[in-house]
């Protein structure tokens, strides 16, 4: 049996597998060249936290790009909503109220969702190309972030709110990490078992046992390894492990939710159908305009969530937050296998893309590469990744 056949039988996405291999290769090289610093618990912990903001937004960008659109405004929306949350917390709501931070967080996410829906409305119902609408959004909301406070930095933020940024106290500790990790493993195994049962019930052969066991083993290893590394990084001057950082927990929850949204809901199915053939989707009774608004609304809400994490991490609202984040977000989605032609992409791929980009960035910082050179190299990687992907696709379709 050929490798390709085996992959197909195991229902492994060759693209995702390729990216996984690329990530392992990058990590191996960086670890060797940094003398073991790169794969230390401390650095991996930082890498995870650094990946979370772009990762959160990349899960939404997958939907936008799959639907044949683009959102250039996410960095500015991040900045604007982050600033709005900071102002709300410190100046509008009573500073010492316990409900202050949840209310401002919810209001911020609602604001981001509304901004996204508003942009989506222009795209869907007024026929203005998404490129133009969101380019305008990039300008407007960056300006808006400044106007909110005339450029003043806003601090201090609520102590509890700051935890979602993943600072010194912003992780859940070793016990909770073990517990959640264990739960995640159980949930993975249970969902695989349910899937096998469902396939049998509908008269389809379940995955061959070797593939099933392999999949489960890899999933368990990743979850367990992740928890152990996060627990191995200790708090300063102590032996107490930190556990999973809260922003990473938010990223994982977001990725899970968005994966389910894309694979198990009508909305997700319609986004992919629209990306594959908008006319066919409309002829099948899909309300293409409403789905378009929905896609941008999700993206706006996720940009606001990323804004909350950024603001909390800085412990302040500044009007430059999220500058150029739209580029890293789009790059993460594209490196993660999302096709700019629409119709193709996956949430796990986008997360992998975000981690790959952040690994390169982080590794080059460790190696003392200047920020100017880092930009050049990351740009080159973006071209290379997309070229590789399209070259592989050509080969696959021509044979």
């Amino acid at each position: 049996m050929s490798l390709a056949q085996r992959l197909r039988e195991a229902e492994l996405d060759p693209r995702l597998l390729g990216m996984g291999i690329a990530l392992v290769a990058i990590w191996t090289v960086l670890d060797a060249t940094t003398g073991g610093v790169f794969l230390s618990a401390r650095n991996l912990y930082n890498l995870a936290v650094q990946s979370s903001v772009v990762g959160i937004m990349a899960t939404g960008m997958v939907f936008v790009i799959v639907a044949r659109h683009i959102d250039l405004s996410v960095g500015s929306v991040l900045g604007f909503t982050g600033m709005a949350m900071a102002v709300m917390q410190t100046e509008w709501l009573p500073a010492d109220a316990g409900w202050n931070w949840p209310v401002s967080l919810a209001a911020g996410i609602a604001l981001g969702t509304a901004i996204g829906a508003w942009q989506g409305w222009w795209v869907a119902y007024r026929g203005v190309p998404a490129f133009v609408v969101t380019l305008a959004g990039l300008l407007m909301f960056r300006g808006g972030a400044y106007l909110l406070t005339d450029g003043r930095t806003v601090a201090p933020l609520h102590a509890t709110f700051q935890l979602i940024g993943g600072g010194l106290e912003g992780s859940i500790g070793t016990t909770w990490s073990f517990l959640l990790g264990g739960l995640a493993i159980l949930a993975t195994l249970a969902s695989r078992a349910l899937r096998r049962r469902s396939r049998r019930r509908h008269g389809f052969a379940p995955l061959p046992l070797w593939a099933e066991v392999g999949r489960c083993a890899v999933a368990v290893a990743i979850i367990a390894g992740f928890v152990m590394v996060m627990n191995a990084y200790t708090r300063p001057r102590s032996e107490v492990g930190r556990g999973v950082p809260i922003p990473v927990l938010i990223l994982i929850a977001t990725a899970l939710a968005m994966t389910l949204l894309s694979r198990t809901t009508r909305f997700g199915r319609y986004v992919f159908a629209m990306g594959g053939n908008p006319e066919a989707a409309a002829l099948s009774g899909v309300d293409v305009k409403r789905v378009t608004v929905g896609v941008f609304a999700w993206m706006g809400g996720l940009a606001a969530l990323a804004g909350a994490v950024t603001t909390a991490r800085l412990a302040a609202g500044t009007n430059s937050m999220g500058t150029l984040a739209e580029l890293s977000t789009i790059a993460a989605a594209v490196i993660g296998g999302t096709s700019l032609a629409g119709g193709v992409g996956s949430v796990p791929g986008a997360i992998l893309g975000a981690v790959i980009m952040q690994s390169l960035e982080n590794g080059m910082v460790l190696l003392g590469v200047s920020s100017a050179l880092r930009q050049v190299l990351i740009g080159a990687v973006l071209i290379g990744a997309v070229w590789l992907d399209s070259a592989m696709r050509r080969r696959r379709t021509s044979t």
Binding site: S198, R199, R201, H202, G203, F204, L260, R263, T264, T265, R266, R269, F272, A273, G275, G276, N277, E279, A280, A281, A282, L283, S284, G285, V286, G343, V344
Partner: protein, 246 residues
Amino acid sequence: MTAPLVELRGVEKRFGGVYAVTGVGLALYAGEVVGVLGHNGAGKSTLMKVLSGALPLDAGEIRIDGRPVSIQSPRDARRHGIETLYQTLALAENLGAAANLFLGREIVTRLGTLDDHAMERAALEVIRRLSPHFDDVRTPVQNLSGGQRQMVAIARAIHFDARVLIMDEPTAALGPAESGAVGALIARLKAEGLGIFLVSHDLHDVFEISDRVAVLANGRLVGVRNTSEVTREQVLEMIIGGADSA
């Protein structure tokens, strides 16, 4: 006499200044197949798209069971039991056969999530009735052959208990065995009491299957004939000459 299943009256559809269809009146009764013929660009697909809700009409009226109805979208048409096989197939290339077949009408679990296994099983069943060798309802349809894709689109049109079936060139990409299967399928659906519009360039097929033929030329209806009362030569003349010679 019972009202026709579908009746088009004075239907008109313009694209900019171009009259793609104008002043067309045509009825379809339950249990009958009406062949729709005409030269390339005569307006056959446009007329069918007006009925399927893909194109809103500019003037005229659509009646179902004798009552005027408003068909503004494909969903309206489906609500009235009108199912369509489009000439362009209208498949999302990146989705599998099952996802395409159920697009817009997904089977969901009790939790409201997509029940892909149930859809795959049902899709496999319908498609295999037409094409026994079909085996992969998950692979994106862009990886299927032209004929297989056409089978998927046909399966989608017949799966949902239509009363009115529009088939715009159903056998264009099919091999002889599959064409035969589709012909038999149309005969069976007709016997079940469906009304069927069959658009085709294949006069042989049309004469074999349809009860009446309607000929369009340059967006106008040239004439409607009982298939048993005309010869192929007469129909051909109507198509080419654009005049009611018979």
